[in-house]
């Protein structure tokens, strides 16, 4: 049945070559843990992406209950934590995943660094990777405010003051992030929500696409 559906589509739009380009490629022996167990270090990039996918999915479901408003943000989080079946698990995935993704990202970075895999011709992909790292930190920073509890509020206050220390444009940067010159409040929360849920993920998707296309074009760096 499935084969028939596939054939029906393939006959019309010829998807097999597309599918082949995406999925059908050789995994070199030196990166395959089945051949050399130490090759597990090559898994960290993929694990980062895996956790990122979990973050996207769990985040999508969290927005079904979350309200980015200072009156209701905390209440909506409390409600989903206490009243909604399994929501505690979904929020737990998003909460812990946020930390795990940074850990995986660091391990991946360490592997690339110590194997010298960033060297010519892969310098561009290293740069893209660093940009991904910054986007991930931004996602962590903006996501941290959203529960709108004391920890979130004062962590953001500190973060905004750090942004204010940037030379020359610090003050403007701080206001741009906070949405108000003096208050960390309603407009800060909506801003952080928008950045967390739309702006940074959009940037992340673009960068990840470039990251993966470059890997495919250049191949994985050779054995040490």
């Amino acid at each position: 049945m499935l084969q028939k559906v596939y054939d029906w589509i393939d006959e019309r739009i010829d998807i097999t070559p597309i599918w082949r380009d995406i999925a059908d490629h050789e995994v070199p022996e030196h990166v395959n843990p089945a051949h050399h167990f130490s090759a597990f270090v090559y898994c960290f990039g993929g694990l980062t992406f895996f956790v990122t996918v979990i973050q996207i999915l769990s985040g999508m479901f969290l927005t079904m209950y979350y309200v980015p408003d200072i009156e209701n943000a905390w209440k909506s989080v409390y409600y989903l934590q206490t009243e909604v079946a399994h929501a505690q698990i979904v929020r737990g995935m998003h909460h812990w995943g946020a930390s795990v993704v940074i850990v995986m990202l660091l391990l991946h970075t360490l592997r690339v660094f110590f194997q010298g895999a960033y060297k010519k011709p892969r310098e561009l992909n290293w740069i893209v990777g660093v940009l991904i790292f910054f986007v991930m930190l931004g996602l962590g920073f903006t996501g941290y405010l959203l529960p709108w509890d004391n920890k979130a509020y004062f962590a953001t206050q500190v973060g905004l003051e750090i942004a204010g220390q940037v030379p020359f444009i610090g003050e403007q940067l701080r206001i741009l992030l906070a949405g108000d010159a003096t208050i960390v409040g309603a407009q800060t929360l909506t801003r952080f929500f928008a950045i967390h849920v739309f702006f940074l993920p959009a940037a992340l998707f673009g960068l990840l696409a470039v990251h993966f296309i470059l890997i495919r074009r250049q191949g994985i760096s050779g054995p040490l």
Binding site: I70, E71, Q172, I175, L176, A178, G179, D180, A181, T182, I183, G185, A186, Q187
Partner: protein
């Protein structure tokens, strides 16, 4: 067709015009969203109003006393009345001084003679920060700057306070 004036080919001309028109359309599309995003930076803050803090100058003596009042705060579409507080006293010239109680170290709340060991000082309980009566931080304690001083006005013998103004470190 091969005379020298014909330097732009038809293809080039179309490329330039389409790129130009496309650029204008893209720019036109982006102006409003960008302006909307940076609006808070360009808005001048309307703060600076002086508020009646509910104490007359006669009630203020040379011992700092804590006063609390509320200000009307408009945060976008959200109006609230957060409380403010200050330590007020008259200095040796008889002028009213109103100090912010927010410690310049990490933002705890200081109080006058808050510790028995430190008379005649403002004391911060969090990390033993000390300030002299004029709000200047005592060197060797955590704070690196004096307590901010409120802008003040006296109208008909009643104290009105504005924003706390930060001062340079001692």
């Amino acid at each position: 067709m091969s005379n020298k004036k014909q330097q732009v080919s038809r293809r080039q001309f179309l490329n330039y015009t389409l790129t130009g028109v496309g650029g204008f359309m893209a720019a036109g599309l982006l102006v409003s969203p960008l302006r909307m995003a940076i609006d808070p930076v360009l808005k001048h803050s309307s703060s600076g109003d002086f508020v009646n803090v509910g104490i007359s100058v006669d009630e203020i003596n040379d011992t700092p006393q804590r006063i609390d009042w509320t200000v009307e705060q408009v945060d976008g579409w959200y109006k609230s009345e957060p409380s403010r507080s200050a330590w007020v006293y008259k200095d040796e010239n008889g002028d009213v001084v109103a100090l912010s109680p927010i410690c310049t170290h990490l933002g705890c709340v200081v109080s006058w003679e808050g510790s028995d060991q430190h008379p005649d000082h403002f004391y911060c309980p969090c990390h033993n920060g000390l300030y002299t009566k004029d709000g200047v931080n005592v060197p060797g304690t955590p704070p690196l700057a004096p307590l901010p001083v409120y802008e003040q006005e006296i109208r008909d013998g009643i104290l009105f306070l504005g924003n706390p103004i930060e001062r340079e470190g001692a």
